[in-house]
Each structure stands twice: as C-alpha cells, then as structure tokens.
C-alpha cells in the first residue's frame, strides 16, 4: 500500500507530522506538570495525608459526591457519643469512581483506619461504553491518563481536562477572573477535606425543580433513560478496581462496609431494568467473594423531600436522616 512516487519527500512529510504530534503533546505535558490547580490539589492532598496524625480511632467514609453530601459533623457526634475516641473522616471526592480511588489506597491504608465505609452507586461502575472493544471516544482520554499517570496519584483527578487547564492559565492572566469569583463561594469542611460545597448543595429543591433537572438531563442526552453502561462485566475496570480496593482493605485487616447511595425516584424511574439487575449482580458477587456487609439504601429516601437534585441529597439539617442512617451503620459495625 505504501508505494510512493517520491520516497524522500514522503519520508520528510511523515517525519514532520510525527514531530508535530510529539511537540504538541510535550506542550500539554508541560502544562499538566506546571498546572497550578492540579498541583495545588495534589499538594493539598499530600499535605493532608502527611500531616494527619490522629491519636483517635479513625473511621473513613469514601465515595463520590453522593457521599460528599453527608453531614459528617453529625455522624461524628453520633458515633463519638457511643464510642468515645472515634473520629469519622469523609474522604469523598466529587466525580470519584473506583478506578480513581484505587490510586489513593496506599495513603488510606497508611492512616490505619479501624473501618472504611464505601458508598457506591450505578455510576461508580459506569464505563460509558456499550461495546466489547474500548470505546474510540475515550481513546484520547485513556491515552492522556496513560502518558500523564503521575498526575493521577492520590486520585487527584478522574480525567485530564486540557481545555480547563488552558483556560485556567488564560484566566489567571486577568486579575478579575470568573474562576476566582467561583472559588470564593466554595466551602470546605475540616471533616470532609476533599469535597467542596457551593450554596446550591445546601438547598432542598422542590419536586418540580427535581423533575425539571431530570428532564433537562435526559433531554440534553436526547434519550429517555439514564445511560449507565456496565458491560462487559469482565472487562469493566471499575468493577476490577472496586474489588482490588476491597481486597487491599481486607488484606490489611481493615473492616469494610459498603452501602449503596440513595437516589431520587425520578432517577430510579429512568434506570433501565437490565441495568438495575446488573448492579444487583455486581453487589451479590462482591458480597459472596469478600463476605462483606452491603447496605442497600438506593430506594430508601426516593420519595422524601430531602433532595438537592435527582441523585444528591441536600447537605441540610432537614435532610439529616441520611447521615443518621450512616452513623447507625457505623455504630452497628463497631459493635
């Protein structure tokens, strides 16, 4: 196929294309290595783990934003009332998944927690691909993660966002940047150090707002069902990494409890039956394989007025029953 009329020029052209590719990726590499926001986050995480030296018995809660919304202060009150000297830390990260969390396991094990409580949901195992072969849409992302795996240490990022980084740099040139405005509105709690709150997360939305949120979400995607893809289960790296996390915790004799995070009925109504079945099968397999307790809270509050949107309970006093239940699970586990 490669019979060319002018081999010399063709070789030079191919070399030029190769050089352009290498140089442009090098530029991205330099950007990632010197990114203020990533380095800031990474150094924050490093500082937390290196400086954390609690005398107390530690209980860690891990998971995504579904877990981040918990009222950890209340959980701490409830747990320490029954077990004085115990401290609960919520290490939730927004957008976290097992594939991301697995990078943080060395640090988590070094903290020697008495118990790890892991909140999971459908989307933790979503591989966003319905095919046996890797989805071509994600090849670029996977390539970036492979090349710049240094940046994934400590689970700082779930995905490299070159556009976000580039625009951060451009914005930082301007003193009145919208990023800084947004940053000033963010709140972080001491017992939930990796998760930031904005005003919206404290507010309980009314039914029509949640329905609108659900409809908008479905409309954007142009479909009428929530698309969560687990298949093929044996190639699903999220499941593999989840098992690896549980395995490492058990190897280090750390008590592990899993719970499924609650979802609003609008979310549940749009989850395909086959996805629900697959999720239950994943949980059953983990239950049998590791003999760990799994608390199913998916539908527990599906009709309550405690939601921020269709998959997040508000961080609000009136929505404390979610945190109360998690506190009870921890207390039961410690007993």
């Amino acid at each position: 196929m490669f019979l060319e009329t002018n081999r010399k020029y063709l070789k030079k052209t191919l070399l030029a294309i190769f050089c352009a590719l290498v140089i442009s990726f090098l530029i991205l590499g330099l950007l990632i290595q010197n990114s203020d926001s990533l380095n800031y986050k990474k150094s924050e995480y490093q500082r937390f783990f290196s400086e954390f030296n609690s005398e107390e018995n530690l209980i860690l809660i891990i998971g995504s934003s579904h877990v981040g919304q918990l009222n950890t202060e209340l959980i701490n009150e409830r747990v320490s009332a029954v077990f004085p000297g115990y401290k609960v830390l919520n290490l939730a990260i927004s957008g976290d998944s097992p594939n991301n969390r697995v990078n943080m396991m060395d640090e988590i094990i070094r903290l020697k927690p008495k118990m790890v409580v892991y909140g999971i949901s459908y989307r933790d195992f979503d591989i966003d691909s319905q095919y046996f072969l890797p989805d071509p849409k994600w090849i670029f992302d996977d390539f970036l993660l492979f090349v710049f795996k240094e940046s994934r240490q400590l689970g700082v990022i779930t995905k490299i966002d070159p556009n976000g980084l580039t625009r951060d740099i451009i914005r930082n040139i301007s003193p009145e940047s919208e990023v800084r405005e947004k940053e000033s509105e963010q709140i972080t709690f001491e017992d939930t150090p990796f998760y930031t709150f904005v005003n919206k997360q404290f507010r309980i939305a009314n039914d029509s707002e949640i329905r609108e949120d659900a409809e908008t979400d479905l409309k954007i995607e142009g479909r009428n069902r929530i698309s969560v893809q687990f298949h093929p289960l044996f190639l699903n790296r999220e499941i593999t990494d989840f098992k690896s996390i549980i395995n490492r915790l058990q190897e280090n004799e750390i008590r592990t409890i899993v719970f499924t995070t609650p979802l609003h009925r609008y979310y549940l109504e749009h989850i395909p039956v086959e996805t629900h079945e697959d999720f239950l099968n994943i949980l059953r397999e983990i239950n049998v394989l590791f003999r760990i307790e799994i608390f199913d809270m998916t539908e527990k509050y599906d009709n309550e007025k405690i939601w921020m949107d269709m998959d997040h309970i508000a961080h609000n006093r009136q929505a404390n029953q979610y945190s109360e239940d998690i506190a009870n699970i921890i207390i039961m586990g410690l007993k």
């Binding site: 490669f2 991205l28 954007i220």
Partner: protein
C-alpha cells in the same frame, strides 16, 4: 513478506474493506449486520436490474431493491415516531388503544449508507454504470470508512470507477493505492482544518449553546439570538469539520470524494444556500427525488409542491422528530417563496442594486437571518421551548440589562464565534487558503501543524459526538 502481501492489489481492497468493517463494528457492534445486509441486497439487485431483459423487469427489480433499503431505514429510524403519532391520533379519536414503543437502537449511519446504496441501483437502472465485478468492490463503496458515518454521500458513478483506476501500469485492473506526497500534505492539512473546526470551534461553543437552549424560557432576545448564531457556527463547524476529515483521509489513500460545503453562510438566496450546504444531500435529493417528481418542468404549482415535498423529506431524513420536519418545511417555504417571487416578479431579480456589492451583502444578511431562524427548530426538540425561542428571535424585546453579564461569563465561546466569522470573511475574500497552506515549504508547514495540533490538544474538551452521527 508483509510488504509483498500489502503490495498485492487485491489484498489492498480486502484490507480497505476489513478496515472499514472494523471501524464500523468498533462504533456500532452487532448493527454491522444491517450494513452487510444492505450491501448484499443491493449488490445482487444491481446485477438483476442490469441483466433484466425488459424495462418492466428492470423497474420491478429496482422497486424491490428500494423497498428493501427504505424499509430497513423506515423500520429502524421511524417506526417509534410513527407509533407515537398513531397513538396520539388514537387518543384524539378515543380509540382506547396504545401501541407499545419498540425502543429500537438507531443504527449509526443508516441514513447515509442507505442513500449510497440507492445511488448504485438507480445508476444501473438509468444505464449510467455497470454493476461491480465483485462483492468486495461494492462493499468498499458502501462502507468506505472515512465517510461512512456522516458522509459526504457518495455516488456510485463517481466512486466506483476510482477503485479501478489504473494509476500504475500492471496487468491487474484494480487500483494500486498510492500514498502520494502532495495528496498526503493536502489530505493532512484538510484533516487538521476539519479537526480545528470540530474540536476547537464546535466543541468549545457547544456548552454555551446548551446552557441557553437547555431551558430558554425566560431568556431575553439577545441571549436567544446569540445562542442561535452560536448553534449555526457549531453545527457548521461540526458537520463540515467531519466532511473535511473524511475528504482528507480519503485523499491520503488516493480517493477523491466530493466537497460537502462551500461557504454556506455567504449564500444570498435559499437556492444558493442549498448549493452550498450539505451539497451531497441536496444534490442527491435533487437528482433522486426532485427531478423524478417532475422538478420545475411542469406547472408552477407542481414545482412549489415538489420543492415543499423534497424539503419535508429532507427534514425527516435528519431524524424522526417534528423539529426536523419543521426545519425542513421552513426551508421548503423559503425555496417556494423565492421561486414564487422569481416567477411572478421576474423584474425584481434584474434590479441592478442586487448585483452591486452592497446589494449582495444585504441579500446575504437577509438570507442568513432566515437560515439562522431555521436552526432554532433544528436544535430544540421541545415544542414550547422552540416557539418561545423563535418568538424572541423574531420579536426583539430590547431587554439589554443582562448583556454584559452574559458576555462576561461566556467570553471564550462568544470570542470563538467572532473569530469564526472573521476567518470566514478572510477565506471568502482569499479563496484556496487550504491549498496555499498545504503547499507551504516543509518547515513552515511543520510549524503550522504544531500550532494547529497544540490548539486541538490544549483546548480539547472531551469526547463529543459529531451532531450528524445521529442521522
């Protein structure tokens, strides 16, 4: 050994077909069976049409072939839409019966490869081409990977001869696929421009457009107009970007496929717009629908009906949804009105003012006002949102208090929209930019590549599907 095998021409064709099927399987999984079915179906019906002894037999074979193609397209793409309409109709007449939806997966590219196949059988029927000698050749034509999922729509009579071009001397009559330096440079340049359109412009403008059109109720006219312009730029960059990538990739392999866009936002009339936008579809509709319906050779009224019908079906081709039908009918309406004015008042088109520069600029602005108005139903599926947005677009509300805030939080996408139009004007005034760039000396061309690739990588927002993948 590998090189010897690869140099074998017959293997090249198998390799090309294998690559195309692998690409399709990669994105569509089991739905590749439909592509294979269409290929086999039309390959054999092509032979039957050619070998038929009477014109009646030819016609019957063609009708069966078309029924197979359109039946498959109709079933997979339109059956749920038809059921919904039937159920609504049933409720209206209180029939008390609801047909359940089938929830079929929409096969990627089915609209495109169905139209490819139709050009083959129809061209044989019209004695424009001979059937291909082998199934492999025909399968390559249907599944040729650069353009498979979103066009340009290939014509059998243009593409098939390329598979048999005798570029180099040899006893084998199959084409030797040659990577030629100038084709490689031009092809890569074209692909880079395509990627820039898609990944730099379209994907970065898309979040701004979505933020307005997700729920436009309450938005002021300025926001709606800006988002509409943004969507016009987004869809042009998205679709013409894909076409550029497809044409460039094909050119690298030595195949020439037709251009699909020719500066559509400089069109000065509805017919001019359709000579510049999605050219392969509009010319397909003209040759395989408009002309067979009688075109403009019958009465004025028949011409208007034909135009309306073609644009209605053109809209429906884009998707089984009323918003695409409204989009098609709007464009049909523009074409009919334009034609009516030309027929009834021929003196208007001869007014000198319209030949002057300022006259042309005004014609372009007026035409684009209507083109962008039609993008609203194309983008918004919800009927209430669509009507609200169209009202705000047409009747400006002079609500300007939020303009500063809107611009301040969307500086980047709005800036990109501005840059896009400036570049369009430059390209319009200095044509052949692409050729000039591809002919740059190697050092300068490498700098161009590095700059363009860096822009692509540094402003990469994540994997966003091409809009036309849905069609």
């Amino acid at each position: 050994m590998t090189i010897i095998i690869i140099k074998h021409r017959r293997f090249q064709h198998i390799f090309l077909l294998g690559a195309s099927y692998f690409f399709f399987y990669y994105t569509s999984n089991y739905l590749i069976t439909l592509l294979i079915f269409t290929t086999i179906w039309d390959f054999y019906f092509g032979k039957m049409i050619f070998n038929a002894k009477t014109s009646k037999q030819k016609k019957i074979c063609l009708i069966i072939s078309l029924a197979g193609n359109l039946g498959l397209l109709g079933y997979f793409k339109y059956v749920d839409f038809a059921i919904v309409q039937f159920n609504i109709f049933g409720q209206y007449f209180d029939l008390g019966y609801n047909i359940p939806l089938l929830h079929l997966a929409l096969p990627i590219a089915i609209s495109f490869y169905t139209f490819h196949s139709i050009t083959y059988t129809v061209s044989i029927y019209r004695n424009q081409i001979m059937p291909t000698k082998t199934l492999t050749e025909y399968a390559i034509f249907v599944a040729f990977f650069p353009q498979l999922v979103a066009g340009p729509i290939l014509r059998a009579k243009e593409f098939l001869p390329q598979l048999r071009d005798k570029i180099t001397a040899g006893k084998d009559s199959l084409k030797m696929i040659i990577i030629d330096n100038s084709n490689l440079k031009f092809g890569v340049t074209m692909m880079i421009f395509g990627f820039l359109k898609k990944m730099f412009f379209s994907d970065n403008i898309s979040p701004f457009v979505n933020s307005i059109f997700e729920n436009p109720i309450g938005a002021d006219s300025f926001s709606i107009i800006l988002a509409t312009i943004g969507f016009g730029v987004q869809i042009y960059c998205d679709f013409s970007g894909y076409s550029d990538i497809a044409i460039g990739a094909a050119l690298i392999l030595g195949f020439r496929i037709p251009i699909n866009f020719n500066k559509p936002y400089f069109a000065s009339s509805p017919s001019d717009f359709w000579r510049r936008w999605h050219i392969s579809l509009s010319s397909w509709l003209r040759d395989y629908l408009y002309i067979p319906l009688g075109g403009n050779k019958k009465s004025h009224l028949r011409t208007y009906v034909n135009l309306g019908t073609v644009m209605f079906l053109g809209g429906l081709w884009h998707g089984a949804s009323w918003n695409f039908i409204i989009w098609g009918l709007l464009h049909g309406g523009y074409l009919v009105i334009h034609r009516f004015v030309k027929d009834k008042f021929p003196a208007i088109s001869k007014i000198e003012f319209f030949e002057s520069k300022i006259g042309k600029v005004i014609s372009i602005i007026i035409m684009q006002y209507f083109v962008f108005l039609a993008w609203i139903p194309f983008r918004i599926h919800d009927f209430n949102y669509m009507i609200y947005s169209m009202q705000k677009y047409v009747f400006f509300d002079f609500e300007i208090s939020g303009i500063g805030h809107l611009i301040s939080i969307n500086k980047f996408p709005i800036g990109l929209i501005g840059i896009f139009f400036i570049l369009q004007i430059i390209v319009f005034l200095k044509p052949e930019l692409l050729k000039r760039v591809s002919e740059l000396e190697l050092k300068k061309w490498t700098i161009f590549l590095i700059t363009a690739m860096s822009m692509l990588i540094l402003f990469y927002v994540g994997p966003e599907d091409f809009i036309y993948f849905k069609f």
